[in-house]
């Protein structure tokens, strides 16, 4: 058995296979069609971003083949939604008339499906952990996949809807707190799925879904209590292609930091149970402490890298929009604090060689810092970044 898996490992080919060619063709044709359809709204930077996204998708699909069907599904459903809107005369009220839009893939419906699926996935993951059922675990995983697809469809369709409501309002849905929360849950789920697949860690699913469900709870409150889902026009400062790269890069950081914190939580619980009863079934079902420790590191490293990029991009954008790359604006400052926090975490781990419990605690506390940077700043502090006030 051991040798079998090993051989599989050796056989992995790095050459460009048929599937890769089909994939690349799909991405290229899709991008070209999108460009043909909407290119007149794009400036040269946005053309470049589209090109880079296409290349990135081709690479991502090769690196992580499971992302291919997700992309295909999202494309098909989004195109179906856009087509349905178009066949209803491109009016926003179509989302209450057309069946598909009303119940499935208008941005609001898709996002609601996503919300429901994420919460169900959390319950199912914990059920699987309790039942020791592999099947239940698989069901949970497929729920997360579906939720991610719905979330992405929701964002794509919302993007189109913003133009349908009023061409002047049109913008990529990463501009308000509501929109970035959706981005956050989708990215977190996808990154988690990657690690789950790679390290076979379904038992961690419930823990990661905890933070996602909390975010979903926020989205629901924000939707029903504050009507934050209503598409608003952009303030002039946000009208820039920088937003398309700055925000997603930031949220890869936030997502991975959250996963790291939840893995840290799982680590601490497992370590505690193990201390009391090393042979407990729970400990056996959970991934090894070493693996969890490593997952924390991998997530924080990935997040740190992207957070660095996002902060630098943010500084460059600030230089263009506000006239200075650094203004000690509360959001900027808190980004720096988050960055310093994880920089210290990485230093301690890499050069002092700390492992295990203290690092897990630190990752968990790191989430508090991150959450404050993400939410608290909007709630309690005012500044230039006041785009999503609570």
């Amino acid at each position: 058995m051991q040798s079998e898996t090993l051989t599989n490992h050796y056989e992995e080919t790095k050459s460009f296979g048929l599937r890769d060619i089909v994939w690349a063709a799909f991405v290229i044709i899709g991008s070209l069609l999108a460009w043909d359809q909407y290119g007149h709204n794009m400036d040269v930077y946005e053309d470049a971003i589209l090109g880079a996204v296409a290349i990135g998708l081709i690479w991502l699909g090769r690196f992580w083949p499971s992302f291919q069907p997700v992309t295909v599904m999202v494309t098909l459903l989004s195109v179906l939604a856009i087509y349905t809107y178009a066949s209803h005369g491109n009016v926003i009220s179509a989302n209450e008339q057309a069946f598909f839009l009303k119940y499935l893939i208008s941005s609001q419906s898709a996002i609601m499906w996503m919300n429901a699926l994420f919460i169900l996935a959390m319950v199912t993951y914990f059920l699987a952990l309790y039942q020791r059922s592999e099947f239940t675990g698989k069901v949970a995983t497929s729920m997360v996949w579906s939720a991610a697809v719905f979330g992405l469809v929701g964002m794509m369709v919302r993007w189109r809807e913003s133009y349908i409501i009023n061409v002047e309002y049109g913008h990529i849905p990463v501009s308000s707190l509501y929109e970035v929360f959706i981005l956050f849950v989708v990215l977190t789920a996808l990154i988690y799925l990657y690690y789950e697949q790679k390290y076979k860690t379904k038992t961690l699913g419930g823990f990661v879904m905890l933070v996602i469900s909390a975010a979903v709870g926020f989205i629901l409150w924000y939707t029903f209590d504050r009507e934050a889902h209503v598409i608003q026009p952009l303030v002039p400062a946000l009208k820039s292609w920088w937003m398309k790269i700055h925000v997603p890069a930031n949220f890869i950081g936030y997502g991975t930091f959250s996963i790291a914190a939840m893995v840290g939580l799982a680590y601490l619980i497992t370590a505690k149970v193990k201390e009391k009863n090393p042979n407990s079934g729970f400990v056996k079902r959970m991934p090894s402490l070493e693996l969890m420790d490593d997952l924390m590191y991998k997530n924080i490293a990935l997040g740190f890298a992207f957070f660095t990029i996002a902060t630098v991009l943010g500084a460059m954008w600030a230089a263009e929009a506000w006239g200075g790359y650094w203004s000690w604006d509360p959001k900027e400052t808190w980004a720096l604090i988050v960055w310093l926090n994880y920089a210290a975490w990485l230093h301690i781990r890499m050069s002092k060689g700390w492992r295990g419990k203290p690092m897990a605690w630190w990752a968990l506390i790191g989430l508090l810092v991150t959450t404050f940077a993400f939410l608290g700043v909007n709630m309690f502090l005012s500044g230039l970044h006041s785009y999503g006030e609570l």
Binding site: K239, E320, G323, G324, L340, H347, G353
Partner: protein, 675 residues
Amino acid sequence: MTQETVHTATPRKQRVLLDFLGSMNLAVTLLVMLSIASVIGTVLQQNQATQDYIIKFGPFWAEVFNSLGLFHVYGAAWFVLVLVFLLLSTSVCVTRNTPGFIKDMKQFSEKLSLKALQHQPQHTEFSSNADLQTEQARVVKTLQTQGYKTKVHAHDDGSVTVAGLKGRWNRLGYFFTHISIVVICIGALLDSNLLLKYRELTGNLIPETRTISLKEVPQTAWLGPENMSFRGSVNVPEGQKTDVLFLPYEDGYLVQKLPFMVEVKDFRIEYYDTGMPKNYESDLVLTSPELDEPIVKTIAVNHPLYYKNYAIYQSSFGDGGSLLNLKVHPLLSPVENPITLNTAVNKIEPLKTPIGKFNAEFNDFRLFNMVPTTEEEKAQTGKKFHNNGPSIIFKVRNEQGKAWEYENYMSPSFQENRWFYMTGVRTINSEPFRYLFIPADAKRQKTRFFKFLALINNPVENTRVFKEAFPQSEQTDDKTYALQIRLMQQLMTLFRAKGFDGISEFINNNVPEEERQKVGDYYFGQTSFALQSLFLDILKQEGVQPASDADVSDFDKQWFEDALTAINTIPHYGPPMYFELESFKHIQSTGLQITKSPGKDVVYFGSAMLIIGVFFLFYVRQKRIWVNLRQAENSGDQADEAGTDITVAGKDNKPLPETETEFERLVHLLRTPNH
């Protein structure tokens, strides 16, 4: 900042210091300090006026916080000191680790003995039937196809070690990340106001704190174009030009002279249907003695103008001194005699009135006031917002310095099926405006309202009207009649001074409790009779002659009620004056931000280095592999079959769970011929 220390022959004391500076503990302490300082800077609002802090924290704590520099954290000496130490610590760390790391990047450690190899984290041994040379060639080839750089060393005992090294860039990642921090700090330093601080300390720079005209700003608050870096802003009205900039500095500001002139030809702003600004832009003409042709460019948010090492940004907009033609209506005057006032936004007008001297400070003019529509209106017009029209924001300040802030609309707005002129007042900045609704007459004007008001205010006219409306009957003697008329007049005086509350107050103060109910009913009856008579007189003046109350139209009845509501609140309106905006000429100003930032490119360079470094550091793993090959010690009888004993050892500078599997995989490849 790593464990690996390189021993050099520096004198002891110096080494202790360097060890301290380069220590991980110091580095992490500094990072934590920087974080905490940053937190303080965001929680405590920075760079506010000293009085605001005193109000917030009290004089004692405001003083303590101030001396700790907590109100200007990011410019405080101790904060800069932390940064400097971080810079030193990082530099020491880099210098100390450089020789070792360079060596580590270059060396293959091919000379390690077999014993040393067997002590590596991963190692395994096997034998092959092929001879040494064949195996050696195969090992070299396999390692190279796996991305290793190789080096072969023939040991004295005839054995051979093939050493492989992969992912050397990981070490570069260390240099890049750490040097980038130094680079970024240097860039930031270039853009900091350290030189200004120095000039302030030596006394030839004193920031200005007063709001005075440019000519009055003393030379000690001026900076010449030689100033290396700055970031400031200036408001320029349309059609005007500037060659100065205001730099916020501590509690005040400095005036920066620019080596060029910026003229604002035009300013435009577009709005969404929500009334939110959609885009704003300025047409600029930049002239400089160094330029043959002036630069003409339109700047907008996110689209600045770059000129040499200066950048000009569209940062805000405001009123550039719109011309306002006002009529000031005295609210207590017995005759209608509004004063005409031609002024402009940002001007202060002194007003002499019978009730004292006032200053009217005109702060802002708004061309649009978009408000969300009501459900009904939405159903009618389909619009989510409607425009309430132009408004002025101004303050009226009395001689004691107390100010009332007003927001007056030029056009009437439609509320509950009637048209009203709205005027808001407040005395505290943070409070919302409380509105007075002046009912519009049939022609949608305020004419009737001011007429009515003047009539109420005029005792002589009052008497005439009351006498006409309430002729002396034969039963009443002269004295009683005169008393009755006087009572009505007094009630009017009370009403216009303090509203209906004034009448209640009067009753409470002067009438014994048991009679209050009765007297109150009578007084209020008289009051309303008096007011109605006055109103009927107004109607008469307008040419309407209602035979009885029932003949008064519904519109006029409603108007009368609304007018009384408005007059009733005038006593809470502040100084009794109403500023009517008759006409205006809108002049906008553009808020420009101009920077000179020599450190920007340095910071960007450092940032790029940082990103590249982070990826090298995390995603390039430095891996070493050693393959020791030696002639198998045969049992002797098969001398021609020269087998080879092989020891494979590996080391990953960042051991991960996959390290083991990868090593096994490599060993598998090395064991499998013909791969």
